[in-house]
């Protein structure tokens, strides 16, 4: 025991520490026990889930992308009206949603799908994920103008424009005139000022690629992107990174004053105590995204799904959409927030590409895009 002998002062202290540790272990065990008794997710949830499954006729399951959300109480109103309880399942983002629906079409995740956008709409219809249904809601007439390829399997619910946004403050400070068209972005004065999300990994990124396809044609967009790249284009992974990290007008005070975002983004940049947003959308650079809902093939409760789809087109939901999902309601009778009318109007002539054309070419376009832009 030679080495303990050389540290005579040690043993009492380590004994003390050990007893303290024992106490703490006991305390932790007790805490864990309490946590187990009271805080288990499985423990508290299984009972209610059991109910939900056994009375499936009384519930309708909505499969939505992860941006879906409505104000408190709205889905309760639906339950009051119809007696149907709504379960919401959000298995992924907008881009992932359709592929998940395609994969699970033999055993669908729910009854109604919401959030399929026009870049994926044809695939959903072609794969037979959704079944035809014609809504009788008043807003259905407004929705009809966005019908995909003559099919009534998908019903438009809301829409939005993906546009180039600019940071007014930055341009004022630098005494530079703001760009206004897609072509402006390739000019030398705007070198190193633009950031866009990746078209492969982000749905607004894909929308902007489609805008350029719409603007320059199936054979012209490649040249445009080559010029953009030569002009110092920055590609961020997603909208969040582009807007919050690289964009000078977003949350992160980044270095670039031009970003790809939404027509509805500017109202969110009204500074505290101010009246005007510090950013604006370039309405000649937009691609229109339309989000659809559709009754899933093989739904357990197709009638419930139809009722819920009608409800999504009701004024109550349509009025709520701008505030919670930052999209424009498809209904012409819905009311928009005041600042939207002023600061976030829709583009009058957005670029567009036919959904079936998108479905046919998307992978090839993305491959080309990657080749040109990422290299």
């Amino acid at each position: 025991m030679a080495s303990t002998s050389s540290h005579p002062g040690r043993s009492p202290r380590s004994a003390r520490t050990r007893s303290a540790r024992t106490r703490m272990t006991a305390a932790a065990a007790a805490a864990l026990g309490l946590a187990l008794a009271g805080c288990s997710a499985i423990g508290t949830s299984s009972a209610s889930d059991g109910d939900a499954t056994s009375t499936s006729s009384g519930t309708v399951t909505l499969v939505a992308h992860d941006s879906f959300g409505l104000s408190d109480g709205i889905l309760d109103d639906f339950t009051k009206e119809t007696g149907l309880k709504v379960e919401v399942v959000q298995p992924g983002d907008a881009g992932t949603l359709v592929n998940q629906l395609v994969l699970t079409k033999d055993a669908p995740l729910g009854d109604l799908a919401y959030g399929i956008d026009n870049s994926f709409a044809s695939r959903a219809i072609d794969e037979g994920v959704v079944v035809p249904y014609t809504s009788s809601a008043p807003a259905a007439k407004d929705a009809a103008q966005y019908a995909v390829g003559g099919s009534d399997a998908l019903t438009a619910v809301d829409l939005g424009d993906v546009c180039i946004n600019t940071d007014h403050t930055w341009f004022t400070e630098h005494g530079l005139a703001e760009p206004s068209t897609l072509d402006d972005l390739t000019k030398p004065e705007y070198k190193d000022l633009l950031v866009v999300p990746n078209a492969v990994t982000s749905s607004p990124g894909l929308a902007f690629l489609l805008a350029t396809v719409g603007a320059f044609g199936e054979d012209g967009w490649q040249d445009y992107w080559t010029k953009l790249k030569a002009n110092g284009l920055k590609v961020a992974d997603g909208w969040t990174e582009a807007y919050d990290t690289d964009f000078s007008g977003g949350g992160g005070n980044g270095p670039r004053p031009i970003v790809l975002s939404y027509a509805s983004s500017p109202p969110f940049t009204v500074p505290e105590g101010g009246t005007e947003p510090t950013t604006g959308a370039l309405l000649d650079t937009c691609f229109r995204q339309v989000e659809y809902a559709g009754v899933l093939a093989g739904a357990k409760n197709p009638e419930g799904a139809q009722k819920l789809l009608d409800f999504l087109l009701s004024d109550e939901v349509q009025d709520d959409i701008p505030g919670t999902m930052y999209m424009y309601p498809v209904s012409s009778t819905a009311t928009l927030p005041d600042d939207w009318a002023t600061w976030a109007p829709l583009a009058t002539k957005p670029f567009s590409v036919a959904p079936d054309e998108i479905t046919t070419n998307r992978e090839a376009w993305l491959a080309d895009w990657s080749e040109i832009v990422i290299g």
Binding site: R10, T44, S67, T201, D237, T240
Partner: protein, 588 residues
């Protein structure tokens, strides 16, 4: 004073005529127990990991009911595939090498030396490991972006940025795994070398380093697994330019629904991961060679800036200082993004304030629950995941800690060990999509597990099990078999031996295991994001949703919520650190 992990021939062996006859035939109860100990974890892993993965990968290889392996030829004929495999290996190897190089001085300073605030620093370095990648991405990129605090380095969007982020995540893995062993390593072996004329550097290189090799190998393999399957970090910091197998699986699956390519890539990933596990397993098994271990109280020395009076030059003080300096720089660099996060969460417009923290009590207009409710959800899910991981991981560790007499048995045990590491090395997308395909009425049961909240803690437990195993196993392996024999000679049945010896001693490491399982569950986002239901989102899911909305307020809220997650994690890790009994080190 010192214990050995293997038999020490210089101690009298309990044996001979007085020895209690080895039970020649195990009782029915024993057979039942050990069968269950093997079967329960295997069943768990099989149902909640292997089956979903097989179903998902199978989709890619079966066309019209026939096995079709032409996808291999097709995928491997693409130059892109080879580039991606190369990038994956390059990123993971470089990041692993750097993590080890920086982690070794860190392990020495944080585990072999004593100084004020050491436990705080130890908790701090663990925080990055569990932060959601989306948060780290924002915190990291806003530092590196042009005009950011580190913008002058022009690292944004470079390979170097990805590698440094991977090191940021995995530094703690090396520090903890190596430090856990180092603090118990008997310093006298190195002293013997010094007395034989070896300089401090030579003694380290030829004596200490070989003794640490198993722990280094173990840490490196874990780090490699984490790096090779890094997904969010790579996309956020490097984009597709530096795509890896993992990001490619994600793109092929979620964006292109090219399941054939995804399946091939999953197999490639599995092969790479299995290769790493085999190499690591070999290196780890060398740990079973006798190592003289001491209690940390005897091996840990105080860290002083000045050379202690009476200690000559060239006696290892300078290298110790160098290690301290390297560690200080690394910790400062680790802290930068974290500090950045905190600072930015306190910025409200042009002023400072707690507004974003106050807003955590609201839904921020974008969520279905408040952030505090999501925090509570996270904690609840983490409790379930931790209990599951402890039970399953504990059983695995118990089984793997045995050394069967027959070679076949030993191989089976080693295989089981490697098997439970696999969840760390398989794409979360493959597992997540696999759940969607396989958890509908599993085994014909009338339950749709895909949309059940029960699946979330299970998915997290699958990831936490390897951490529990790596933490508990070394402690169980270090139990002197003579202790069990002594208990048996005192009349204890096999069950009681297990209870009074194995479990009692393993319980000392349970605090640590609980901490890691809990932290891993709190931070898990990959599989959870495919499963979390909107009425019960976890904290990382909520942060992800907040950050995906425009507006400075939701952005600030997201940062504040990230700080809450970081503090929660650090607190839990620090608490578990205190629970860790002397000598009950963990290797993970």
């Amino acid at each position: 004073m010192s214990t050995a992990t293997a038999t020490r021939p210089d101690l009298p062996v309990t044996g001979g005529p007085g020895r209690v006859a080895r039970p020649s035939r195990p009782s029915a109860g024993q057979v039942l127990f050990w069968s269950a100990a093997v079967a329960v974890p295997l069943l768990f892993l099989g149902v909640f990991f292997a089956w979903p993965v097989v179903v998902m990968v199978g989709r890619g290889f079966v066309t019209d009911g026939h096995l079709d392996l032409s996808a291999f030829a097709e995928v491997f004929s693409r130059p892109r595939t080879w580039r991606i495999v190369g990038l994956t290996l390059a990123q993971a190897s470089i990041a692993t090498a750097l993590s080890v190089l920086l982690g070794l001085p860190g392990a020495y300073v944080l585990h072999r030396r004593r100084f004020r605030g050491r436990s705080v620093v130890r908790a701090l370095v663990t925080v990055p490991f569990v932060l959601p990648t989306v948060v780290v991405g924002v915190a990291f990129r806003s530092l590196l972006v042009d005009g950011g605090p580190l913008g002058f380095l022009h690292l944004d969007g470079t390979f170097a940025a990805i590698v440094s982020a991977l090191v940021f995540f995995n530094y703690a893995v090396v520090v903890r795994a190596v430090g856990g062993l180092w603090e118990r390593l008997d310093p006298r072996a190195a002293q013997a070398a010094r007395a034989l004329g070896a300089s401090p550097w030579r003694a380290f290189r030829t004596v200490t380093l070989p003794a640490l090799t198993p722990a280094i190998a173990s840490a490196a393999s874990l780090t490699f697994l984490f790096c090779a399957t890094a997904f969010g970090t790579v996309l956020v910091l490097g984009g597709l330019q530096f795509g890896t197998i993992e990001t490619e699986i994600w793109i092929q699956t979620t964006q292109f629904l090219d399941l054939r390519a995804a399946a091939v890539l999953s197999v490639v990933q599995l092969v790479v991961v299995a290769g790493v596990l085999v190499v690591a397993g070999r290196a780890r098994s060398r740990q079973e060679r006798a190592l003289a271990l001491g209690a940390p109280s005897q091996t840990v020395r105080a860290l002083t800036l000045r050379r202690p009076a009476g200690r000559p030059r060239g006696d290892g003080h300078a290298p110790a200082l160098a290690a301290a300096a390297v560690t200080a720089v690394v910790v400062a660099l680790l802290a930068l993004p974290l500090v950045n996060l905190v600072v930015r969460s306190l910025r409200v417009g042009d002023r400072w304030g707690l507004d974003h923290y106050t807003a955590l009590g609201t839904t921020g207009g974008a969520l279905t629950v408040t952030v505090w409710q999501a925090t509570l959800n996270s904690l609840r899910v983490a409790v379930d995941a931790t209990v599951l991981a402890l039970v399953v991981g504990g059983l695995v560790a118990l089984v793997v800690s045995r050394r069967p007499r027959r070679t076949a048995g030993r191989r089976a045990v080693a295989g089981l060990d490697a098997l439970f590491m696999l969840p760390l090395g398989v794409s979360a997308v493959t597992v997540g999509f696999g759940f969607l395909l396989s958890m509908h009425h599993p085994f014909g049961l009338d339950v749709d597990l895909r949309t059940s909240p029960v699946l979330v803690p299970i998915a997290q437990a699958v990831v936490a099990v390897p951490l529990v195993v790596r933490t508990v196993l070394p402690v169980l392996r270090a139990i002197d078999p003579r202790l069990r024999e002594a208990a048996a000679t005192l009349g204890a049945g096999p069950g009681r031996v297990l209870r009074t010896v194995d479990l009692t001693i393993a319980a000392r490491s349970v605090g640590l295991a609980v901490g890691f399982a809990f932290a891993a569950s709190l931070g898990e986002f990959g599989a959870t994001s495919f499963l979390a239901r909107p009425d019960r989102p976890t904290l990382p899911v909520v942060i992800f949703r907040l950050i995906g909305r425009p507006g400075a307020d939701t952005y600030g809220m997201a940062l504040a919520a990230s700080v809450v997650l970081a503090v929660l994690t650090a607190g839990i890790v620090a608490a578990c650190e205190r629970l860790r009994a002397a000598g009950a080190g963990g290797e993970w």
